[in-house]
């Protein structure tokens, strides 16, 4: 690589980074608004960030390793849930509320329905081939069942209309994805895990 080309690469990389982070900085530096937000809306948003992020993480764990069909489903889930995480983060920021739940640990049980344990995430990390596809679908169906249940509750009880509306969208999306993933599991000769308690 010539010195000129190298320098152009360096400049291009630096420009992309600086502009990207700069845009973020500009957004973050806006003045803070007055506190607000109903406890139910805040709690749902905080919990859903945690729940959604795990789905994003699981989808990312598949990157480059799962079959094209499963990778496509995972990419769709990750894109959708990242967008929704952004909405929740924006609301919490407007409400001046913490981005994560407060309070104390709830022991060793799952803090929200459908959450995947660390050992199961390690199994997903270690799996390959059809085993990887099946385990992902099983864990994600159960995760979605929990997420849809949380969203159903928020669709009924959230204080703000926008929160209730998003909760309905989440529930509908996840129910649709559960149906798709369950169908693929059947085609692979497998079945979903028991639904979360």
């Amino acid at each position: 690589m010539s010195a000129t080309v190298r320098r152009r690469v360096v400049l291009a990389v630096a420009a992309v980074v600086l502009v990207g982070i700069g845009a973020l900085g500009g957004v973050l530096l806006t003045p803070r608004s007055e506190p607000g937000g109903h406890p139910v809306d805040i709690g749902f948003s905080q919990d859903m960030i945690v729940h959604h992020q795990q789905a994003v993480d699981m989808a990312e764990l598949l990157r480059g390793r799962a079959s094209p069909q499963i990778s496509s489903i995972a990419a769709g889930i990750a894109a959708n849930q990242r967008k929704e995480i952004g909405l929740f983060q924006g609301w919490l920021s407007l409400w001046n509320a913490p981005q994560v739940p407060t309070g104390h640990s709830h022991g060793d049980g799952a803090p929200m329905p459908g959450m995947v344990s660390i050992p199961d995430l390690h199994r997903l990390e270690d799996a390959s081939g059809t085993d990887l596809d099946i385990l992902f679908l099983q864990l994600m169906v159960r995760h979605h069942q929990g997420g849809a249940r949380m969203a159903d509750a928020a669709a009924r009880t959230a204080h703000q209309q926008q929160v209730r509306d998003l909760a309905k969208v989440i529930s509908a999306d996840q129910q649709r994805e559960i149906a798709t993933m369950t169908g693929i599991l059947a085609s692979l000769g497998s079945v979903p895990l028991p639904a979360p308690q």
Binding site: L24, P31, V100, D108, A110, P111
Partner: protein
């Protein structure tokens, strides 16, 4: 180090805020010193123009024992025993002669030698603020950060056996390769005090990850989540049950309960305990927990807006309280125009605090900081309410050596103006875009206390071994 370009206005107030005086008495420089010629922390424009700032630099009660400049250093380096490890900038993978983390053996301090270059993927990928040693376990680790917020590879090296020849512990079949790991975003990394966990934070998206390193041959992610809009470095409490995360904007910290991760819960979560923010700074860098007289405290640096260093009392962790700020004279509001003139074309970081260290975590006596263009600054902090400077070492500018500094983050900076001070109206008139002038170095790495020595690294001067003089340290 985080670069932010002001694209959408400058709405943050830069007015002084927070309790406590921020002034710190100047060091009394003994024989053999070459004191600063301007304000405390300043490399004056006159010295930059005359060439004075490139001839020997400025030092006070700290002498140079040895130096290995090599290809320069990127942001954060690390050290263990008599060895130093120089951080990498991702572009040096293409441009450096010795690619990867350069290992420098200072067993003969006057003649330090390059003994190895660590070329596993994490070390080649730009280490930013992740290259850290756990001193008790003798483990060196880093994450590949790439252009600023990456995280695919993680490396752990044994440096206890032979610090000059680190051994990659999580390699694939004895090669320099490591398996990719799921680290969603990485910019800053560091060890929990017990050395069982290595934490990674990303600056975009508020990501945070905990890696179990109980078995360094098989590190595993035991937590990942999103806990903020965006955050920066951190510090972990001695018992591992709290992580204190620095906030980018507004400047400040958030306290999280990390006990789930510490006890390796099956379904771990971080829960927020409290937060604290301030307006006379920006982009808080990282956090150092310590106790003084039995009361828990934090050191927090800001890398933007001349925010300097803050001491925070967390005896009531639900209501953290600033007890003291430390700023150099050049950081004071009335000196913005001097800062603007001095640093107009020497890159995005001006006279900013960046990474500090304490001489001990319990009742510390001294605090040493990499203060970017102000060099290395050392403070007596025995009385937290009345800190005073006891020594400094600001190495000379390295414009003449530009060609060999392929691994200096400073040299590879493509913006000349001091973006770090933009909220104070200091970003050049007009902003300078072009080759940085290198009239002063960037010292951004945490110094390490070692008896009467101080191990430090600066971007352009590389690895340095310093020795306190004139009885400045140790302090009784």
């Amino acid at each position: 180090m985080l670069a932010v370009v002001p694209l959408t206005g400058l709405p943050v107030s830069a007015s002084a805020a927070g309790s406590g005086d921020s002034d710190v008495a100047r060091a009394v420089c003994g024989p053999g010193s070459a004191p600063e010629t301007g304000l405390q922390g300043q490399v004056p424009l006159a010295d930059r123009r005359s060439g004075r700032s490139q001839q020997g630099g400025y030092h006070c009660n700290l002498d140079l024992l040895g130096q290995f400049q090599g290809q320069g250093q990127a942001t954060i380096g690390a050290s263990y025993g008599h060895c130093q490890y120089l951080g990498t900038v991702v572009t040096s993978t293409l441009l450096a002669k010795h690619r990867g983390v350069n290992v420098v053996d200072f067993s003969d301090p006057a003649n330090p030698k390059l003994t190895a270059s660590l070329a596993s993927p994490a070390m080649l990928g730009g280490t930013w603020e992740t290259l850290k040693v756990h001193q008790e376990r003798g483990l060196l680790a880093a994450v590949s950060v790439g252009a600023g917020n990456g995280g695919i590879f993680f490396s752990v090296y044994d440096v206890k056996t032979d610090c000059a020849r680190p051994r990659l512990l999580n390699s694939v079949a004895g090669t320099d390769l490591t398996l990719p790991m799921f680290i969603p975003g990485g910019h800053e990394g560091g060890w929990a005090p017990d050395g069982r966990t290595y934490w990674v934070t990303g600056v975009v998206g508020g990501t945070i990850t905990a890696i179990d390193v109980v078995n360094p041959a098989r590190p595993r992610v035991v937590y990942s989540g999103v806990v903020g809009l965006t955050h920066h470095g951190f510090g972990v409490s001695n018992d591992g049950n709290r992580i204190y995360v620095a906030s980018i904007a507004p400047a400040g910290i958030t306290v999280f309960d990390s006990s789930d991760i510490q006890r390796r819960a099956l379904f771990p979560m971080l829960r927020q305990v409290s937060s604290l923010s301030w307006t006379d700074g920006l982009i808080s860098q990282h956090v150092i927990p310590f106790t003084s007289g039995g009361r828990p405290h934090l050191v927090v640096e800001d890398e933007f807006a001349s925010g300097g260093v803050r001491i925070v009392d967390i005896a009531d962790e639900r209501a953290p309280r600033i007890v003291r700020r430390l700023k150099l004279e050049i950081n004071r509001p009335e000196n913005v125009s001097a800062r603007a003139a001095d640093t107009a074309s020497n890159g995005i970081f001006g006279y900013e605090a960046h990474y500090c260290s304490l001489d001990r975590p319990t009742d510390p006596t001294a605090l040493a900081c990499g203060w970017t263009q102000s060099g290395i600054r050392v403070f007596d902090v025995r009385d937290l309410n009345r800190p005073k400077e006891i020594a400094y070492f600001n190495p000379p500018g390295q414009a003449a050596r530009r060609g060999q500094l392929a691994n200096s983050a400073h040299v590879t900076s493509t913006l000349g103006s001091p973006v770090s001070d933009f909220v104070n109206g200091n970003f050049g008139t007009p902003p300078y875009v072009g080759i940085v002038d290198l009239t002063a170095d960037w010292c951004m790495s945490p110094p390490r206390f070692d008896g009467n020595k101080l191990w430090v690294a600066c971007d352009d001067n590389g690895a340095l071994a310093l020795r306190f003089a004139n009885g400045a340290y140790p302090l009784s």
